[in-house]
Structures are given as structure tokens and as C-alpha cells.
């Protein structure tokens, strides 16, 4: 089975290791991964800020770059929601592009969703290597909002993480509440965003978690930034990185 990786801006430019982990995991699960090299930004920052005309060329570029892909896999819930759902709003008046998008949209998946629902894998133990760490890591999962509410992603990452014997999933208070990132919201309303983040960090501090993970690198960037500023010990790793680490 082949899949194209849509790496997303933040991973590409800030956290390339997440891209590498995503690629590595997919390979390990038997997928031949290609990387359409013309790929660019999905246009979410412009769209969320109300500049739909500025996001339109990016939507069309996406369709161009990925038109031949059997599957398109993203390590980001919010970008996956953007390209698989919100493009419908942007392309509303563009019949041809809209129809193209309608063809491609069912083939777009966030990573955990792809593994669980397309590859039909719910237990990762079969993929464990001799290098897999033996100690159990206490991991908390942040319910990234766009993934959760736009794409119904919760059971997939939790099941996959929970299936690993060297992972213990731990809960924390109000884990279904937004971290306060919200894209440009975090810059336009930093005090509100900061207050929401502070609640999140507080809840994590009161939990048993050693690691926080999620399927959205932008949420993680925001939470990690707050944890570092507060000087807390908890580590932040992307879902793909955790899988890569735990499988060995």
C-alpha cells in the first residue's frame, strides 16, 4: 500500500523529527511512503483569520500536489481537518476544484486514524523490536480539539498507545478542554490563551504523567512552550515520536 506524506509547515520547519518518526512508523507498518516535494502550507492560518481568498491558491496547490495519491497521511489533526473538511468552504464557488476536492477528501487521514481505520491495526505489540525500551512510561494524551471534534479522533490514538506494554496511559483534570492555542488566537489574545494554557499545565502537574502527547504539533508547541517557561519536568512528544520510541 502506498501513502503520501503531507508533512505540514510546523513539522517541516520546526520539528522535522516528527516527520521522520511518521515516515518511519508508516514504513514499519508496511507502507511505501512518498513525499510530493511541491507540497506547501495547507492555508489554515489565513483561513482561520478570515482571509479566505489568500488561502484559496494554497488549497488549489494541495489538490495539484496530491491528486495522484492513494492515501494522504498527516501528522496533524488540525491540518487534516483543514484539507479534508474546511476546503469545502474555501472552494465553494470553484466548481472544478470543488469536485476535485470531493474526490480526494476521503483519502486524507491523520496518522493515528490511518493506522487504526485504514490499516485496521489496533494493537502495536506485533511491531515491537528487540530495541524496544522495557521500562513503562506514564503518558498523558491531550485531546487536540480539531482532531477530536472535526475528525472524531480520540479512540484511535488512545487504543494504539494503550496497546503497548511499555506505556501506561494516565488521566489528568479536564483533559477534553482546549489548550488555548487556536492559531492566531494565541497571538491576538495572549492573556486568554495564556490563562487556558496555565490551567492545562496545572492539571498536568497534578497528574502522574511523565510525558504529554497528542496528534497535533501546534498544540504541543504551545503546551511545551508553557511547560518550559514554568520550568516543569514533564516532557512533550508527538504521537509519532512516542510510537517510534516505544517500538524501538
Amino acid at each position: 500500500m502506498k501513502a503520501s506524506l503531507f508533512v505540514t509547515c510546523i513539522v517541516d520547519q520546526f520539528y522535522p523529527k516528527i516527520g521522520e518518526s511518521t515516515f518511519g512508523i508508516l514504513n514499519r507498518l508496511g507502507i511505501e511512503v512518498d513525499f510530493p516535494k511541491g507540497q506547501a502550507c495547507c492555508g489554515q492560518p489565513m483561513f482561520n483569520s478570515g482571509y479566505w481568498n489568500d488561502s484559496k491558491p494554497l488549497a488549489k496547490k494541495f489538490l495539484q500536489d496530491f491528486s495522484d495519491s492513494e492515501y494522504i497521511v498527516l501528522p496533524s489533526g488540525s491540518c487534516a481537518a483543514m484539507v479534508s473538511k474546511f476546503y469545502a468552504e474555501i472552494l465553494k464557488d470553484e466548481d472544478a476544484a470543488l469536485r476535485e476536492w470531493e474526490q480526494i477528501s476521503p483519502r486524507i487521514f491523520e496518522l493515528s486514524d490511518f493506522i487504526f481505520n485504514v490499516l485496521k491495526i489496533d494493537d502495536l505489540n506485533q511491531f515491537v523490536t528487540p530495541n524496544s525500551p522495557s521500562g513503562v512510561l506514564k503518558i498523558a494524551y491531550h485531546q487536540a480539539c480539531h482532531a477530536l471534534r472535526e475528525l472524531n479522533i480520540l479512540n484511535q490514538p488512545l487504543t494504539l498507545l494503550g496497546s503497548l506494554s511499555n506505556v501506561e496511559l494516565v488521566n489528568f483534570d479536564q483533559e477534553d478542554v482546549c489548550c488555548g492555542f487556536g492559531g492566531t488566537f494565541s497571538v491576538k489574545f495572549p492573556e486568554i490563551s495564556g490563562a487556558m494554557l496555565s490551567d492545562k499545565i496545572h492539571a498536568l502537574r497534578n497528574s502522574k504523567a511523565e510525558i504529554l502527547t497528542s496528534v497535533d504539533s501546534s498544540c504541543l508547541m504551545h503546551i511545551r512552550g508553557g511547560i518550559e517557561k514554568a520550568g516543569d519536568k514533564i516532557k512533550v512528544m508527538h504521537f509519532a515520536e512516542i510510537l517510534h520510541d516505544r517500538l524501538g
Binding site: Q39, G50, W52, D54, G183, S186, F189, E191, G225
Partner: protein
């Protein structure tokens, strides 16, 4: 109510710094929010009810002109008076003129958000008519000369010592820290008013077109008092509150009550079909229904915003909203706060004046998930953002700065071109590197300093993913 939507940032900041209000707001998660979820789970067909409720509301809104005519016929046939007010001022005038013509001295009021739109209380006072709020929360804020903080629990920002101080100052009551005693003060103060008042003004949770029925949901009993004791009863509400027949009330009441407070049913639901008849022992002799537009037709005329009229005013969205739970109701600057308020308040007052409201959201979708009739609030917020940033179809809603528009255009060009993007980010890294430590920046300049107030910022990676891929696959 005079909109102060432009004060969003200031009031939000004050609220963020008020630890007492923060504690009360935080309590919403375990309170109303969790109780709504529990009530929904305990209802065996909750999802079917939501679908049904939505379809009832959609059908009625799509046929609103028809149902208004039916409603008028029914109200008049019941012996009631029917008035269509184009805006809040017209509605207020109707009530004030009615009060004057009937020599009304005191008006007892049951909760009505529309009466807030009308600034009815101050208009009555200006005309020497005394308005008395009888809902405990509304009574408290009336004494405090404030506006409602939440549409279901208007005084939720106050704790018992605030209320005790208020009652002591305004009513001469002895200070108590017992909530029962405080409620007892309100009860005895208001009881006399109930029996003496000349006119009762209420809202309406729903208005039934076929039978001309006003449905009122309450817990305290003040709604019943206001519609039983005085000689005149006036109900004022938004025109979108219509439902076709009494049959629909069962679904909508379940959705409203269980979503608002998590109660299985409220202590009282009262349905009123006009004034008393000769077969009644008591009750008002006159009944007036005032149906108000006040900008709702603006929502109606925009197919992307029409969905906002499906709202049953339960407050579930604001209980679920992580932003509301930080900034509280006063920040939104008008009658309707929280997620639905971020749409309704700007459109009904002035979009440009309220330009912060649609942007003060992380678009997390908790409101959409919470809404009993599944209103897609984030989608409408995005449409409002578009109107403000780009101007949509008519440029007069555009209020974004030239700088921001230019920035987005430039950003779009760069982000759409992998070569340009790679170049720009590399350039960025070169500039930021000297200021960073271990790949992190502790302070960003100017407009972006808000980020580093609360977070470190990572500098771009030395080698981007696509460069790594290129190198690996040579």
C-alpha cells in the same frame, strides 16, 4: 442595553485578574457543563431528540413568516393583544405606553433577555414606573446596577458575601453567610411586590403558533407569580422563538432544560394562552405578546448565519466554552455572551464595533458539541471573521488593518512556495539564533511578545524535513 462590545479586551483582562470570578467560572465545568452531559447520557434517545429539535427549529425558521401570521390569529382569537416590534425601541415604547395608559405603578419582571435588549427597566423608570426583577439572580444584579453575567445564572460572578453586602447596603438586611437566609431576604422583599404589582412582564422560552401559547420555564416560581397576580401580563420575546404546535414543546423543553442546568425537568413549566376566561378564578385580564425583530432578520437573510436563529437560549455553549470560562459574560459587552453571543451580539448591534468577538475563540468546537440543536458556531465565527478581514461580498464590514491584509497576502505567497518558504525560514533562523538558548527564545519582539509572555518559542530547525528527505533520497 447599550453595547460596549469594543471593551472586550479590557473587561476580559480585568476578569482574568479577578480570582474570585475565576473560581466561580471554573466551577462551571463540574457544574452546569458536567450536569448537562449527565442528563444527556441519562436520556435514552438524546441524539434523536437533538436531531428532532434541530429539524423543528429549522422548519420554523424557514417558514417564519407563515408562523407569525398563524400566531397572530391564535393570540387574537384567545382574547390577547399581539404586537410586532421591528426593533427594541419600538418594543420598549409599546410596553411603556401600555403601562402609562393603564396607570401602572409597579412592574414585576420574570427573566427576559429581550427586555435587556430593550433596556426596558431604565425606560420604565424614566416614565415613573418601578420595574422589579423577581428572578433571584436578576434581582441581585438589578440591585447592583449591573448587567447579566450569564443568561441562565445572571449573578454567577458574585459569591455569597457579595450578595450579603449588597442586601445589607441596599435593603438594610442583616449580613448572613447562609445562602438560604439570603434567599429568604429576597423572598420576603418580593412577596409583597408580587401581590401588589399592576403589571407582569415576562419573556417566553417558546411561543406556540397554533394555539398562541407562551411557554415559560422557571424554578423559583416568580414566572408563575408574574403571570398570575397582576391585572396585565406582557410577554416579550424574539421572533425566532416560535414553534409550530404544542406537540413540539415536549422535545424542545427536554433539550432546553437538560442542556441549561442538567435538571431532568425544571420545577415549573407554565403555558399561557392569553388572558383569563370566565372559567378562571384568577389571572391577568389582559395579555400582550410582543414579538421582536431587532436585527434578527439580518441573521435570517444571511444563509451562512441563519443557523444562529435556531438557538433555544440554554447557555450550554457558554458553559462548555473554555474562553467564556476565563473571560466571563461581561466581556462580550452586550446581552448575549459566550459562543452564541459572539455571533448574535455583533450582528444585532454593530459588527465592526464588536470586531474582537468573533476572533476571541480558539475554534475548539466545544460549543457545537454542547448545543442541543447542534448549531455549528465555529463555522459562523469563521464567516464573521471573513466579513471583518476580507469584507465578504460588501466591503463595508471590513475592518482589518492594511498591514494585516498585506501580511496575509505576503504570507500566502511565501507559504505556497516551498523554495521561498525554505529561504524565509532559514533567514528567520539566522536572525533568531543569536538570541536563542538551546533552541528556544524567551522573548519575541513587538506584536509577537504576547507569545513569549506565557511560552518559550522554538527557533526553526537547522535542517527542515524536506531537506532531510532530499538528502536521503538523492
Amino acid at each position: 442595553m447599550k453595547p460596549v462590545t469594543e471593551k472586550f479586551r479590557d473587561i476580559a483582562l480585568d476578569t482574568l485578574n479577578d480570582s474570585k470570578i475565576q473560581a466561580n467560572l471554573n466551577a462551571l465545568y463540574e457544574g452546569f457543563h458536567s450536569r448537562r452531559i449527565a442528563a444527556g447520557s441519562a436520556t435514552h434517545n438524546w441524539e434523536d431528540l437533538r436531531e428532532h429539535g434541530r429539524s423543528i427549529r429549522e422548519h420554523t425558521v424557514e417558514n417564519l413568516d407563515f408562523y407569525i401570521e398563524i400566531l397572530e390569529q391564535a393570540v387574537v382569537a384567545n382574547g390577547g393583544n399581539f404586537y410586532l416590534a421591528s426593533d427594541a425601541d419600538e418594543a420598549a415604547n409599546y410596553v411603556v405606553e401600555l403601562a402609562k395608559s393603564k396607570n401602572v405603578k409597579t412592574v414585576i419582571k420574570s427573566k427576559s433577555m429581550l427586555s435587556e435588549e430593550m433596556s426596558l427597566n431604565s425606560k420604565l423608570e424614566q416614565n415613573n414606573v418601578e420595574p422589579i426583577e423577581t428572578d433571584l439572580g436578576e434581582y441581585i444584579i438589578q440591585l447592583a446596577d449591573e448587567t447579566p453575567f450569564h443568561i441562565i445564572a445572571p449573578a454567577m460572578h458574585k459569591d455569597r458575601s457579595d450578595v450579603a453586602d449588597l442586601f445589607s447596603e441596599k435593603l438594610g438586611a442583616a449580613k448572613s453567610s447562609d445562602v438560604n437566609e439570603l434567599a429568604g431576604v429576597a423572598r420576603s422583599q418580593l412577596r409583597e411586590k408580587f401581590f401588589q404589582a399592576d403589571m407582569g412582564v415576562t419573556g417566553a422560552n417558546f411561543v406556540v403558533a397554533e394555539t398562541g401559547t407562551v411557554a415559560l420555564v422557571s424554578n423559583e416560581g416568580n414566572g408563575r407569580m408574574c403571570t398570575s397576580m397582576p391585572k396585565i401580563h406582557v410577554a416579550v420575546t424574539g421572533m425566532e422563538k416560535i414553534v409550530p404546535t404544542m406537540n413540539e414543546l415536549s422535545t424542545l423543553l427536554r433539550l432546553l432544560i437538560r442542556s441549561a442546568t442538567g435538571q431532568w425537568i425544571s420545577s415549573y413549566v407554565t403555558t399561557i394562552n392569553g388572558p383569563r376566561s370566565s372559567y378562571d378564578e384568577d389571572g391577568p385580564e389582559e395579555f400582550h405578546l410582543v414579538l421582536v425583530d431587532n436585527g434578527r432578520s439580518k441573521l435570517l437573510s444571511d444563509p451562512e448565519l441563519r443557523e444562529a436563529l435556531l438557538c433555544v437560549r440554554c447557555g450550554a455553549c457558554m458553559n462548555a466554552c473554555p474562553v467564556y470560562r476565563k473571560v466571563g459574560g461581561h466581556s462580550y459587552g452586550w446581552v448575549y455572551p459566550g459562543p452564541i453571543g459572539a455571533i448574535v451580539s455583533p450582528v444585532l448591534t454593530d459588527l465592526k464595533q464588536a470586531k474582537d468577538l468573533p476572533f476571541a475563540s480558539s475554534l475548539c468546537g466545544a460549543c457545537h458539541e454542547a448545543c442541543p440543536v447542534k448549531i455549528n458556531i465555529p463555522r459562523m465565527l469563521l464567516h464573521l471573521r471573513r466579513k471583518l478581514s476580507e469584507g465578504d461580498n460588501d466591503l463595508d464590514t471590513q475592518s482589518s488593518s492594511v498591514f494585516e491584509r498585506g501580511f496575509m497576502k505576503g504570507f500566502s505567497k511565501i507559504a505556497g512556495n516551498p523554495l521561498l518558504m525554505g529561504f524565509s525560514v532559514k533567514f528567520l533562523r539566522v536572525i533568531l539564533l543569536p538570541f536563542s538558548k538551546n533552541g528556544r527564545l524567551k522573548k519575541l519582539p513587538g506584536y509577537l511578545s504576547g507569545w513569549t509572555e506565557y511560552r518559550t518559542f522554538p527557533i526553526p530547525a537547522k535542517v527542515s524535513f524536506r531537506r532531510l528527505w532530499k538528502l536521503k533520497n538523492r
